[in-house]
Amino acid sequence: MDSPILATTDLSSYLPIVLVVLMAVGFAMANIVLTMLLGPRRAGRTKGMTYEAGMNPVGTARKRFNVRFYLIAMVFLVFDVEIIFLYPWASTFANLAPGSDQSLVWLVRILFFLFTTVVAYLYGFRKGVFKFD
C-alpha cells in the first residue's frame, strides 16, 4: 500500500457506496411504483391539503400549540447523546487488562457520566416535562 489514500488508486473501494446508493434509489423508486400499481386511491378534501407537520395549514399563522412537544424531543436528545458516548466507552473498556485496577476508575467515570444524565431527567421532571394534563 504505497499511496496513503487508497481511494485514489483503487476505484473499486467505492463499490460499497455505489451499491448503497443504488439500493436507496431502487428502494425509493420501487415504493413509488408499487404504490402507483397497488395502492387504493381515495381523494378527499383533507387529504388534498398541503402537509404541514400534522397541523391544519389553513387559518391564522399565529396559532398557539403545546410547547411540550419540543420538550419531549429535547429529553429524548439527552438520552440519544448519552448512548453515543456509551459506545466508545464500551468498546475501549474491553481493551483493559483483566483485573486491572483501572477498571474500577473507568466504571466510576462512566457512572458519573450517567449520573449527569439522571440530573437532566430530574431537571426535566421538576420542570414538569413529564406531566401530561
Binding site: 476508575v105 449520573f115 449527569t116 440530573v119 430530574l122 431537571y123 421538576r126 420542570k127 414538569g128
Partner: protein, 548 residues
C-alpha cells in the same frame, strides 16, 4: 492520562455544583429555591481552593519530540492562576446576580396571586448558565488542543447569549440577545475556520505540536492566514475593533448584573485564547523577542484601533452603560498591548503576558464596582412590574449625596478604571506601559498614553455627575435595590480596588509566575537583543515597589 484529570478538578467541582443548582432551583419551597446563590458560591469557592492545589507544569518536553499528551505546556503556570482568578471574580459577580431573574414572578407567588410554576421559573437555569459559563472559562486555561479551545470558548459564550435574553423582560434585552447570538455565531465561525487552516498548515490540532511546527518551519502563508482568522474571531470575545459592534447594544440591553458578567467572562476567555494562540506562534521572531512580523503588525493595529475607537466613541455617549461598554472595548485595546509586548525578560515589569494577566484581575475587580452600582439602583416599576434600569448620566447626579456608599463606590471604581495613581487600575496599567517600552514598542506606548488621557474625559464625567452635581428632583425616582448582596458586591469591588492596590504584591508575583513562557521547547531563546532599552523597567521597578 490519570494525571490530566486532576487538572480538571475545579471544573468538575463547578459542574457538580451546576447539577445541584439546576435541581434545587426548581423546588416548590422558596427557601430551597433561594439556596441557588449560596450553593453556587460554595461551588466557586471549592473550585478556587482546588485550583490553588494544582501544581503547574506538566512534564516539559525536550528535544525535537513533542508529547501530544503533555497537557498545556505553552503557558503551564497560567492554569492555576486563571482558575483561581475566575473563581474569585466569579464570587464577586455572583453577588450582583441576586434578583436578576424571576423578580416579578416571585413577587406574584409571595402575594398569593400565582402558584409556583416550574415552567415559568428561570432561577435554576440562570444560575446553571452562570456556572456553565465560568466552567468554560476555566477550561480555556488548560486547553492544549484547538478543539478543546473551541469547545471551551463556546461553553463560555453560549450560556451568556441566553443570560442576556432572560435577564430582563424588556424588548431591548431580547434584541440584545439575538444580536449577540448571531454576531457570536459569526465570530465562532471565523475562528473555527482559522483553526481548520492552522490544522491544515501544521497537521495537528495539538497546540504544543503546532508550536513545534511553527518554531521549526516558520509561519507559512496558510498558518498565518489561520492564525489571523483565529485571532479575528476571538476579537469578538474580547470586543476588539473589527468585531466590537455588538458591545454597546448588548451591554445596554442586558441587565447591569449581566453586563458586568459580559465584561469579564468572555473577555478573559478571549484573552486566554489569544495568549495561547500567540504563544503557539511564539515571541521568538524578529530580534528574538517578538511575534512573527505579520502577526505583530495586525495585533499592533488592532490594539491601537481598539483603544482609540473605544475611547473616542465613549465620549459621545450619555448612557452610563454605553460608556462602560465602550470603556470595556478600550480596555481590551490596552491589554492587547501586553500581548504585542510578549514575555520580554520574564519579570513583572517587562513581561507583557504578566501585565495582561494582572490587568484581567484589575479590570475584573474594578469593573464589577461600576456595573454593580448601576445594578444597585433602579427606577420606577414599569407596566410589567419590573423596575426600570438606571442608565443615563442624569440618573447618577448627586449620587454621593443621596447614597454616599454607592456614590463613592462608583467614584472609586471609575477613577480606578481611569488609572488614577493610588488605585488598582494604575498598578494594572503600569506594567502594560513598562513591558511595551522594554519590548521597544514606543509608538504603541504613545497611543496607549494618549488614549488614557482621552479616557479621562468620560470617566471624569461619571465622577462629576456623582460627586459634584446636585441631585436631580425632576427626573424619575432612583431607589436602592432591595437585594442586599448587590451593594455588597459593589462595595467588595471598591474595597478590592483599594486593598489590592496596597497589598497587591502577592497577586503581581502570582501573575509574573503565571506568565512564565518557555519559547524554547525547540530552540533556547536568545538573550534580549542589544538596543532594546533594558534600563527602563529597572528604573521603574523600585519606584513602583515604593508605591506599595
Amino acid at each position: 492520562m490519570m494525571e490530566r484529570v486532576t487538572y480538571l478538578y475545579p471544573e468538575i467541582a463547578l459542574f457538580i455544583t451546576t447539577c445541584i443548582v439546576m435541581i434545587v432551583g426548581l423546588s416548590r419551597e422558596l427557601k430551597h429555591r433561594k439556596l441557588c446563590a449560596p450553593i453556587s458560591g460554595l461551588g466557586l469557592l471549592a473550585a478556587g481552593v482546588l485550583a490553588t492545589g494544582l501544581v503547574p507544569g506538566f512534564h516539559v518536553a525536550t528535544g525535537a519530540e513533542v508529547d501530544p499528551t503533555a497537557g498545556q505546556i505553552l503557558l503551564p503556570n497560567l492554569v492555576p492562576y486563571a482558575k483561581v482568578l475566575v473563581a474569585g471574580v466569579g464570587i464577586l459577580l455572583l453577588l450582583l446576580q441576586a434578583g436578576t431573574v424571576d423578580r416579578v414572578e416571585e413577587a406574584r407567588i409571595a402575594s398569593g396571586r400565582a402558584a409556583f410554576n416550574p415552567l415559568r421559573s428561570n432561577r435554576a437555569e440562570y444560575y446553571a448558565f452562570f456556572l456553565f459559563s465560568l466552567t468554560g472559562l476555566m477550561l480555556c486555561a488548560s486547553a492544549d488542543d484547538l478543539i478543546w479551545l473551541f469547545l471551551a470558548l463556546e461553553l463560555t459564550s453560549l450560556p451568556t447569549y441566553i443570560m442576556v435574553t432572560m435577564s430582563t423582560s424588556r424588548h431591548s434585552s431580547q434584541e440584545a440577545g439575538v444580536k449577540y447570538f448571531f454576531l457570536g455565531a459569526l465570530g465562532a465561525a471565523v475562528f473555527l475556520y482559522g483553526f481548520t487552516l492552522l490544522y491544515g498548515a501544521t497537521g495537528s490540532t495539538n497546540l504544543n505540536q503546532i508550536h513545534h511546527a511553527i518554531a521549526a518551519g516558520g509561519l507559512s502563508g496558510l498558518s498565518l492566514a489561520g492564525m489571523l482568522l483565529a485571532l479575528l474571531g476571538v476579537c469578538f470575545k474580547i470586543a476588539a475593533v473589527p468585531m466590537h459592534f455588538y458591545t454597546a447594544d448588548v451591554y445596554q440591553g442586558a441587565a447591569s448584573s449581566v453586563s458586568a458578567f459580559l465584561a469579564f467572562v468572555p473577555k478573559t476567555a478571549g484573552f486566554i485564547a489569544i495568549l495561547l494562540l500567540a504563544s503557539c506562534a511564539g515571541w521568538t521572531h524578529g530580534a528574538g523577542d517578538s511575534l512573527p512580523d505579520a502577526l505583530r503588525t495586525v495585533l499592533w493595529v488592532i490594539a491601537a484601533l481598539t483603544m482609540t475607537v473605544g475611547n473616542v466613541l465613549a465620549i459621545w455617549q450619555n448612557s452610563v452603560k454605553r460608556i462602560l461598554a465602550y470603556s470595556s472595548i478600550a480596555h481590551s485595546g490596552y491589554m492587547l498591548v501586553g500581548v504585542v509586548a510578549g514575555p520580554g525578560g520574564g519579570t513583572f515589569a517587562t513581561s507583557g503576558i504578566a501585565a495582561v494577566l494582572f490587568y484581567l484581575l484589575c479590570y475584573g475587580v474594578m469593573n464589577i464596582g461600576t456595573f454593580g452600582v448601576l445594578a444597585c439602583l433602579e427606577g420606577r416599576a414599569g407596566a410589567d412590574g419590573e423596575p426600570a434600569e438606571i442608565e443615563s448620566l442624569d440618573d447618577l447626579r448627586g449620587l454621593c449625596q443621596r447614597h454616599p456608599v454607592l456614590g463613592w463606590t462608583m467614584v472609586i471604581c471609575t477613577l480606578s478604571l481611569l488609572g488614577l495613581p493610588p488605585l488598582l487600575g494604575f498598578f494594572g496599567k503600569v506594567p502594560l506601559f513598562t513591558s511595551a517600552i522594554s519590548a521597544g514598542e514606543i509608538p504603541l506606548v504613545v497611543v496607549l498614553g494618549l488614549n488614557s488621557a482621552i479616557a479621562a474625559f468620560y470617566y471624569l464625567r461619571i465622577v462629576g455627575s456623582c460627586l459634584l452635581e446636585k441631585p436631580e428632583t425632576t427626573t424619575g425616582i432612583v431607589r436602592v435595590t432591595p437585594f442586599g448582596s448587590r451593594p455588597a458586591g459593589a462595595l467588595a469591588s471598591a474595597a478590592g480596588v483599594i486593598v489590592l492596590a496596597i497589598f497587591g504584591n502577592g497577586f503581581m508575583a502570582a501573575s509574573e509566575k503565571a506568565a512564565a513562557y518557555d519559547g524554547g521547547h525547540v530552540e533556547k531563546k536568545e538573550p534580549r537583543a542589544a538596543g532594546v532599552p533594558e534600563t527602563a523597567p529597572q528604573a521603574l521597578g523600585p519606584a513602583k515597589a515604593e508605591g506599595h
